[in-house]
């Protein structure tokens, strides 16, 4: 059994510890005795949608997003088809912009510039029982989307298997329940009868609860 992951623009879009998502997913899949083929793709490569089970894109600087977009525009059709064909995508941080009206136009969301600072958030979703922790860039706010990722915020998109919470950082490190949900969906889509070993979260859960406590304290302060 193999899961093939394409890390798109690994050399451009990788800010703020988001490489951690790949490290974590890879190790957790391997613990389930699933082989992981990690393919690093960038502006010099061709993207073949059918070749991969998961496409990962991290956040980046404005200039790096611009460079990535030039390349992604050439593969708009491939990417669009892959999304519609239920391929998995995880897009973190500001890279969601690449898929909007000002990007390759797959999603019709509207953004507005807001001079608000970064904010640490805990946001609710339909698919994970506990809130998702993350760091939200509020310099560009999504004001409307048909496919919101969060229940109580417009800052992200969830459409078929396209997951784009607009939060920065290693979302899998901070949110063990989301990791478990995502990993199971990814594997079951390809191997519907897969039997999972229990996923061990030695430190993840305590880190999550600790963060919640710190956030609460910060709000009180």
């Amino acid at each position: 059994m193999t899961i093939k992951i394409a890390y798109l623009y690994y050399d451009l879009l990788n800010l703020n510890g988001e490489n951690g998502n790949i490290k974590i997913l890879k190790q957790q899949l391997e613990k389930q005795n699933i082989k992981v083929e990690l393919v690093l793709l960038t502006t010099t490569d061709n993207i073949i949608g059918e070749s991969y089970d998961l496409f990962y894109i991290g956040g980046g600087t404005e200039n790096h997003l611009r460079i990535a977009l030039k390349h992604l525009q050439k593969h708009q059709q491939t990417i669009h088809q892959a999304i519609e064909n239920h391929k998995f995508f995880l897009v973190t941080g500001n890279s969601l912009e690449l898929f909007g009206k000002k990007g390759i136009g797959i999603f019709d969301f509207e953004e507005q510039t807001a001079e608000k600072p970064f904010q640490e958030v805990i946001l609710e979703t339909d698919f994970v029982g506990k809130g998702i922790i993350g760091l939200l860039n509020q310099k560009k706010d999504i004001i409307e989307t048909k496919y919101p990722f969060f229940k109580n915020s417009q800052q992200g998109i969830h459409y078929i298997n396209f997951f784009a919470p607009k939060v920065f950082g290693p979302i899998f490190a901070k949110n063990p329940l989301f990791l478990e949900f995502f990993l199971k969906q990814l594997v079951l889509f390809k191997y519907p009868f897969f039997t999972f070993q229990p996923i061990e979260f030695e430190f993840e859960e305590m880190a999550y609860y600790n963060y919640q406590k710190l956030m609460h304290k910060k709000l009180v302060e």
């Binding site: 800010l15 490489n19 951690g20 920065f168 950082g169 030695e202 880190a207 600790n210 963060y211 956030m215």
Partner: protein, 438 residues
């Protein structure tokens, strides 16, 4: 007249703070409240060197200061002040006369990259050294590209730039600056040359700023630092004026002359390269004397203390700064004695209340996963986040201990630690452990 009165007031406050032994940026804060542009009142000496960049600025500034002092120059350096805007302003208040003239003949200021924009817009140094520009935590304070733009927009002639040739982002300042630029850089690494980049190498800047083509690397020293060129020939690493070649673990060659290395780490070699280049450019000291001084530099200032039968080591890490960690972890990975590592933070930033530890995932803890690291103690508020990161750096959970309280750790030192303990802790915790060590 108003500015003279502001200086009198703030100098008195600085004097009182000095008498009660309190190091604070309060004089700068008050001066700024009374006059937003007060910093432009100061007249810098003809020889004023600003040292900035994400890493090693303190070490470079200190070396320049030490060498000029030993040569008998009247020189000042903000070694014990903060390098943020208010810290620099406070330092200028303390070291100027009432007309804002800085008293010493040579001034060396380490300046935080975030403060550089506002300081450079009002003051023009004779030299500006930029060591490197790379990622740090703070999404809150902006990323390296934003820092770059702020520096680019505020450098002005006649400042002479001294830039790290091996950092392609720093080199791109040259595309926007018409003034004098000199480069420093190194020719090789200690070990075999690496020419491939992995996804977790903190790849900050790898594309030609002119044509957006991916740069090709002939040599990589760490992260994206090395020898590079644009395949379309738009952008090639400049040749440093005084290239540094590493001979072996003990020596390097600068300008054909041998220099003794206090430690076989890149951090030290870059420090030597930047210091030498500045001193040669300022032409105040003979080459022979510069070489003599560099031979005696010891800039991996790992403070060591004894506590009962344990050795406490305090490497100079900057919390939330992955490159700082890279250099220190590289150093620790070369130690051949059993080590306990203590990692912990009570507060991540003195300026902001933030709990985000995403930056831990940009720190290459994989470097120290060797048999000499007997165990790692994760301390205080973010202990579980640190442990989690270590787990995915393939440390067996048996080697990881979580202790939420620093007092408990100190009480049970023998139970938890081997003979040599390296502390990678925040300033607050470091101070407490150093007290114990003394």
């Amino acid at each position: 007249m108003k500015r003279i009165l502001i200086l009198i007031l703030t100098k008195i406050i600085a004097f009182i703070l000095f008498k009660i032994q309190k190091n604070s940026d309060l004089p700068g804060l008050i001066a700024l409240k009374l006059d937003r542009a007060i910093i432009s009142y100061f007249t810098l000496p003809q020889n004023t060197i600003f040292v900035s960049g994400t890493n090693i600025k303190s070490a470079v500034a200190n070396n320049i200061y030490q060498i000029y002092t030993k040569e008998g120059y009247n020189v000042a350096e903000n070694a014990f002040s903060s390098n943020h805007y208010l810290g620099v302003l406070t330092y200028l208040i303390k070291n100027s006369n009432l007309f804002g003239k800085i008293k010493p003949n040579i001034l060396v200021l380490k300046v935080d990259t975030l403060a550089l924009e506002n300081i450079l817009s009002k003051l023009t140094p004779s030299h500006l050294i930029v060591t490197n520009l790379s990622r740090e935590q703070s999404m809150i304070t902006g990323h390296f590209e934003e820092t770059f733009i702020k520096i680019k927009n505020n450098i002005k002639e006649p400042t002479k730039l001294i830039l790290n040739a091996d950092d392609p982002l720093v080199f791109s300042l040259s595309l926007h600056y018409k003034g004098n630029i000199t480069y420093f850089g190194i020719e090789n690494n200690f070990n075999n040359q690496n020419t491939t980049l992995d996804y977790d190498d903190n790849l900050d800047f790898l594309y030609c700023p002119i044509c957006d083509t991916k740069l090709i690397y002939e040599k990589i020293f760490y992260n994206n630092i090395g020898h590079y060129h644009c395949p379309q020939n738009h952008y090639t690493r400049p040749t440093p004026q005084y290239p540094v070649t590493i001979d072996n673990q003990e020596t390097c060659l600068i300008n054909q002359q041998k220099i003794k290395l206090s430690e076989p780490v890149l951090y030290h070699v870059y420090n030597l390269a930047a210091t030498y280049t500045l001193l040669k450019e300022q032409v105040l000291i003979d080459n022979e004397k510069i070489i003599n001084h560099l031979n005696n530099i010891k800039d991996i200032t790992i403070e060591k203390y004894q506590h009962h039968n344990k050795n406490f080591f305090f490497p100079p890490t900057k919390t939330t700064n992955p490159v700082s960690y890279y250099h220190i972890l590289d150093y620790i990975s070369k130690q051949k004695t059993p080590i306990t590592l203590v990692i912990g933070y009570q507060r991540l930033s003195n300026e902001y209340i933030e709990n985000d530890v995403s930056w831990l995932w940009d720190v290459k803890f994989e470097l120290i996963n060797n048999d000499y690291i007997k165990n790692i103690i994760c301390l205080e508020k973010y202990a579980y986040d640190i442990a989690l990161r270590l787990k995915y750096a393939n440390f067996n959970p048996d080697r990881i201990t979580i202790i939420k309280n620093e007092q408990k750790f100190l009480k049970n030192l023998d139970e938890y630690t081997s003979e040599n303990i390296y502390f990678l802790t925040c300033d607050n915790l470091t101070k407490k452990f150093k007290k114990k060590g003394k």
